[in-house]
């Protein structure tokens, strides 16, 4: 029944990736130098493909669930269950995440492998770091979940839903490196990105697979991600208990 739905969703997703790549092709065709900010065209294409991959691996979107639970009062039912709301929501979202891994991650991965073979650019990617990349992406998934969970608590204070969802997406897109590699940013924006957790969701894992983060830098990058997971995990609990203390549940 929903086959067409899924197909179109996947198609639309790859279509916008195609737009981004065609745009970069045009940009490089107009560039006087072969390299822009340390990326050749093929490396930039890989960057966008890998960001697409990490975006799909770390996909976690609790905001819409929180908004829905809150609005129809079902949240009161979640509160009496013997697991914390954050954990229940995590597993509910994990289902969507597996779905995204099946339909987006897998094709994207095959695409990356195919492009890398076809262009003989195997050295553009650090295939040996692949296990580290996966580990880093997993940390990214937790960062993404906790960050979005904390953000979604704003629903309880503002009663705003759709606007919040868009705001969250816009922030993540800019600061995760999905818009443009973070090293394109001017200094002030770069430092702002450093104060936010979103680089740990996509940019850090992507740079590992691109072979641009190695040795000690690799260790400190993973360290930063671990710190974010711990910090956001604790913050999520604190924010949640505060929300709980002032939440009004209607209906249910």
């Amino acid at each position: 029944m929903y086959r067409v739905h899924i197909l179109l969703w996947v198609f639309g997703d790859f279509f916008s990736l195609g737009l981004t790549i065609l745009l970069w092709v045009a940009i490089y065709a107009n560039s006087p130098t072969e390299m822009i900010r340390g990326f050749t065209l093929i490396q930039m294409i890989f960057y966008n493909l890998i960001i697409h991959l990490t975006g799909s691996i770390t996909y976690m979107s609790p905001l819409s669930d929180v908004a829905e639970d809150y609005y129809d009062g079902r949240i009161s039912m979640s509160l009496i269950k013997p697991a914390s709301y954050a954990i229940q929501l995590f597993f509910r979202n994990l289902g969507n995440n597996l779905f995204s891994n099946l339909f987006i991650t897998l094709p994207t991965f095959l695409l990356i492998a195919a492009v890398s073979l076809a262009t003989h650019q195997t050295e553009s990617l650090a295939w040996l770091s692949f296990p580290v990349f996966l580990f880093s992406s997993l940390l990214g998934l937790f960062i993404n979940y906790f960050a979005n969970f904390i953000f979604s608590n704003l629903v309880f204070y503002t009663d705003a839903t759709f606007g919040m969802f868009q705001l969250n997406q816009a922030i993540v897109r800019i600061f995760s490196g999905a818009l443009i590699p973070l090293n394109f940013f001017p200094g002030w924006l770069r430092s702002l990105a450093g104060f936010l957790p979103y680089a740990g969701v996509q940019y850090i894992p992507a740079m590992i697979l691109l072979g641009r983060t190695t040795g000690n830098d690799l260790l400190s990058a993973i360290g930063v991600q671990v710190l974010w997971v711990v910090f956001l995990g604790v913050a999520a609990q604190l924010v949640w208990s505060h929300s709980l203390s002032r939440m009004k549940v209607m209906g249910g």
């Binding site: 179109l8 822009i36 897109r173």
Partner: protein, 262 residues
């Protein structure tokens, strides 16, 4: 016709009441919209630190195009946003409500919601156009302004028609929302000069889904890069064909509508 205006006023008043109820959601919607626009311009700005022009388009011209892109989209968004809800209305059998009233069903659907969030698009678009025109020392006479009004009307019609075409498929497929999002998303190509893309994309956005007539051709006419008659003629033809086809398709879909059981 007069009756329809009166009805629109009543619907409009109802909608404003709803809006006041969700004031915070509205202001956050505007804020997120501004951030999305900021990211689009940031991208173009950062790119132009490494290149001087994109196939002959300067940064000012790119931002002008970006601004122009917002206006027809904003007009479409302002008045006909409710078309997005048609797929779910079909699924839930809510179209029934439109059919039992002696007013045009599509009109009822459109009049149900007025989307003031779209002022974000209209304002940002106008600011970007005014700012870049000033920087480039452009000035527009009566002809340009008159033709621009025509082009903006045609552009919004193209948007609305394509959205309606997508929504109408909901009469046959379970959820036409992804299809609508996808087709509407093709418009993103029109934020950039069509000429920078490969030939098949140019054909796609000129002939198949004529989004190039929404922003690229009008903007290049105003920037003196394109022949006005081709642009105006193309826009009028494209928007007429699309609105007639979309409306016919909608009527056809409506005729095969089966309500949901309850």
């Amino acid at each position: 016709m007069k009756r329809y205006f009166k009805i629109y006023r009543v619907f409009f008043a109802q909608y404003l009441k709803q809006l006041i109820q969700y004031r915070v959601d509205f202001s956050i919607g505007i804020l997120s919209f501004l951030l999305i626009q900021f990211s689009g311009i940031l991208f173009v700005g950062l790119i132009f630190e490494s290149i001087d022009s994109l196939n002959g388009w300067s940064l000012d011209q790119m931002v002008f195009l970006y601004g122009f892109f917002q206006i027809p989209r904003g007009i479409d968004h302002l008045f006909t946003d409710n078309i997005w809800l048609i797929p779910s209305k079909i699924r839930r059998g809510d179209i029934d409500r439109y059919l039992v009233r002696p007013i045009n069903p599509l009109f009822q659907c459109v009049a149900e919601r007025f989307q003031p969030e779209a002022f974000g698009e209209l304002i940002i678009g106008s600011i970007l156009i005014a700012w870049t025109s000033m920087r480039m020392g452009l000035s527009f006479g009566f002809t340009e302004i008159a033709l621009t009004v025509v082009l903006l009307c045609c552009g919004s019609m193209i948007y609305t028609s394509i959205k309606l075409l997508g929504a109408t498929t909901g009469f046959w497929i379970m959820n036409s929302m992804p299809l609508m999002t996808f087709v509407y998303g093709i418009a993103d190509f029109a934020k950039y000069p069509t000429v920078i893309f490969p030939r098949f994309i140019q054909l796609l956005v000129t002939v198949v889904f004529p989004f190039a007539f929404v922003s690229f051709y009008p903007a290049s006419y105003l920037l003196g890069m394109s022949d006005p008659w081709f642009v105006v003629l193309g826009s009028v033809v494209a928007s007429s064909i699309f609105s007639v086809v979309a409306y016919r398709f909608w009527k056809f879909g409506l005729a095969s509508y089966n309500s949901a059981g309850s």
